[in-house]
């Protein structure tokens, strides 16, 4: 997994450098530092150091077993969080938060149905009162008009 992450970084760095070299000029026509000056240096440096670390990693290849079990909960939480992002876009702050909390707590905090539902209602209400009424801050709007 570590090597996959490094490869993703490398890909990003290569893409960044590509744009820096193709689209952005190193110096402007008047001889000053152009928009590409820093991006090119950053891009090349990132590629070099990432390759260096990759080579180090491959060389001291640690064949330890990755514990799949520890990954399961994190992946689930991440997936739920991304789902929450989508829900926010669709249903707006209040409804999306209530749905997210209800689903997440029933998965993570299994068995306490009553408590979970209570939290899923109280937290969005509390946040709504705090943000919308008290602080006059923005809550995400839904795609279609909703009462809240």
């Amino acid at each position: 997994m570590r090597i996959v992450f490094m490869l993703v970084l490398l890909a990003g760095a290569l893409f960044y450098s590509y744009i820096a070299f193709i689209d952005l000029s190193f110096m402007t026509r008047t001889g000053r530092l152009g928009p590409g000056f820093f991006p090119r240096i950053i891009g090349v440096a990132t590629v070099v150091v990432t390759l260096w670390v990759l080579v180090d990693e491959v060389r001291k290849r640690n064949l330890a077993e990755e514990n799949v079990q520890t990954w399961r909960d994190v992946i689930v939480l991440m997936a739920l969080a991304l789902g929450y992002a989508v829900l926010l876009r669709l249903f707006g702050g209040f409804v999306a938060t209530a749905i997210f909390l209800a689903v997440t707590l029933s998965i993570v905090n299994r068995g306490h149905l009553y408590k979970n539902m209570l939290i899923a209602i109280l937290i969005p209400t509390g946040v709504y009162l705090l943000f919308d009424r008290f602080l006059n801050a923005n809550m995400p709007p839904a795609l279609f008009p909703l009462p809240i």
């Binding site: 570590r2 992450f5 970084l9 760095a13 960044y16 744009i19 952005l24 402007t28 001889g31 000053r32 530092l33 152009g34 928009p35 820093f38 991006p39 950053i42 891009g43 440096a45 990132t46 150091v49 990432t50 260096w52 670390v53 180090d56 520890t70 990954w71 909960d73 994190v74 939480l77 991440m78 739920l80 969080a81 991304l82 929450y84 992002a85 926010l88 876009r89 702050g93 938060t97 997210f100 909390l101 997440t104 707590l105 993570v108 905090n109 939290i119 937290i123 969005p124 946040v127 705090l130 943000f131 008290f134 602080l135 006059n136 801050a137 923005n138 809550m139 995400p140």
Partner: protein, 507 residues
């Protein structure tokens, strides 16, 4: 430059009923944030920054500053009771704090750490009061060349202090620099990495990234470490004991420790890039080497708890100096404070203390009050905070996701920033897992654009010649100090980490 007159003026600004409420609220929130394992001042500040929108500037900044140094008080509670540092700056407090708790001396340990934090914080604020105007005066002679060099120094010292995983730190910083280049190029007006998106033309705002990296990233990492399954109720070492207060011996034996720790902590805190973590580790190893009973360190020696505690609070005060007098943040938390200042239309820098004396001195005055408030809260509310540790992480976790998301959205009402925050959360998790440095990324994201603009201005002034750095006296000084730091800091850092390894091996 009448320091006492300014301070008095600051006190009159700070001591209003509503500001005192904000201060107390910030101090409590800061302690709570510090107590939750994994969450440090950076996460707390980033998440709560949007909440300060409806407030007036001085109250908001007092509250944010209270959260900042309040977190230093709270982070030690879990270090002592659970052997789990609340944030990286309190790692050194676990070495002797937890052994003290195991001996049944949790109460005295907690009281001493509150006192030590108070001394460190107050000494730090006194030093700010004296030194900030002087620094501001010196920095008035700074121009673009010096700003570029300071930004570079901040990045270099941070990377050098990372130690053995420095390559990963370099990559983290480079990612931050790369993210900082997104937006419109100031000189040519050309869009860089905007891909036609109207949202990205303004660049990547660093608050969503900070919230994602430090808030969500830590949360995912805690779930990965199954923190949500273990619960904490059974391992808390805090029952009713006979003695709550420390003995006279405790106080007397650590009085010089407090002095050493605060001075050292403050000096380290001032250096951009070095911060409370390094200060606390250095203070621990230095205290051990000057102690008459070094063999007791790691087994419950009070000086071993007092030294890092004094240092980390003094360092957080010290870090305010480059922020207030130069406008250059030295750490992720001060970067968030900088964002707060900018949000209110204030420009920290050499002229800040001159142009906004009520704000600057009001803030400094509030830090005195804040430290006193925190001392009282720490001692009397300790049983209350112990209860917070017992709230199961699996309930706290989803609530934190909600607060991060809604908080991010409320800043600019931007869905793009919301998605960036979630992306930063996932990246932050992997960064924590594989030994990268989210702090370096955030610092680079802030210092990068600052440095680039400064360099371009410099080369415009010098008409393309890099010799300008060697022709100006302030630049030469900064280059000299940087070289000295780059040589000394790694040695001291290695000294500190060897001390911590010896601890872990010995105990």
């Amino acid at each position: 430059m009448d320091i006492f007159g300014d301070l008095l003026m600051g006190l009159t600004v700070a001591i209003t009923p509503i500001n005192m409420v904000y201060l107390m609220f910030g101090a409590c929130v800061g302690m709570i944030v510090g107590v939750i394992p994994g969450f440090g001042p950076s996460a707390g500040l980033a998440i709560l920054l949007p909440v300060t929108f409806g407030m007036d500037p001085i109250g908001a900044i007092m509250m944010l500053a209270a959260i900042y140094y309040g977190a230093m008080y709270g982070g030690t509670i879990t270090s002592i009771l659970l052997n789990t540092p609340g944030e990286s700056a309190t790692v050194a407090s676990t070495f002797d704090g937890f052994p003290l708790a195991k001996q049944g001396r949790a109460g005295p340990a907690l009281v001493m750490q509150a006192a030590a934090s108070f001394v460190g914080g107050t000494v730090g604020v006194i030093l700010i009061t004296i030194l900030a105007p002087m620094f501001a005066q010196v920095s008035r002679s700074f121009g673009p060349p010096e700003y570029f060099l300071l930004a570079a120094m901040g990045m270099l010292t941070l990377i050098v202090m990372i130690g053995e995983h420095w390559k990963l730190g370099v990559i983290s910083a480079l990612i931050g620099l790369a993210l900082g280049t997104v937006g419109v190029d100031l000189e040519t007006g050309q869009g860089r990495y905007t891909f036609g998106s109207a949202e990205l033309i303004g660049g990547i705002y660093f608050i969503p990234i900070a919230i994602g990296l430090f808030g969500l990233g830590e949360l995912f990492f805690a779930f990965y470490n199954n923190l949500h399954k273990t619960g904490t109720g059974s391992i808390v070492q805090y029952d009713k004991e006979e003695r709550f207060w420390p003995t006279a011996h405790d106080w007397i034996s650590t009085r010089m420790t407090m002095v050493r720790g605060s001075l050292l902590g403050f000096v380290v805190g001032v250096i951009p890039g070095a911060g409370a973590t390094i200060a606390s580790l250095m203070a621990y190893s230095i205290e051990r080497s000057v102690s008459k009973t070094p063999e007791n360190f790691g087994k419950g020696e009070m000086a071993g708890l007092v030294a890092p505690e004094t240092a980390n609070n003094a360092a957080s005060s010290g870090a305010m100096i480059p922020l207030l007098t130069l406008g250059i943040p030295g750490s992720a938390s001060t970067a968030v404070l900088l964002a707060a200042f900018l949000m209110w239309g204030l420009r920290p820098g050499p002229l800040f203390m001159q142009q906004n004396p009520e704000l600057a001195w009001g803030l400094i005055a509030s830090m005195y009050l804040g430290n006193m408030a925190l001392l009282a809260i720490s001692i009397f509310a300790i049983p209350l905070f112990v209860q917070i540790i017992k709230v199961p992480y699996r309930i706290l976790g989803p609530i934190i996701v909600v607060i991060c998301a809604l908080g991010t959205f409320s800043v600019h009402a931007s869905f793009v920033e919301l998605y960036l925050m979630f992306a930063a959360g996932i990246i932050g998790f992997f960064m924590r897992l594989y030994g990268f440095s989210p702090a370096a990324l955030v610092l680079a994201l802030v210092l990068g654009p600052l440095g680039e603009e400064a360099l371009r201005q410099t080369l415009t002034i010098s008409r393309g010649s890099f010799m300008i750095f060697l022709e100006r006296a302030p630049s030469l000084w900064i280059i000299g100090i940087t070289i000295v730091l780059l040589l000394i800091l790694p040695l001291i850092g290695r000294f500190g980490s060897r001390a911590s390894e010896a601890e872990k091996a010995g105990s």
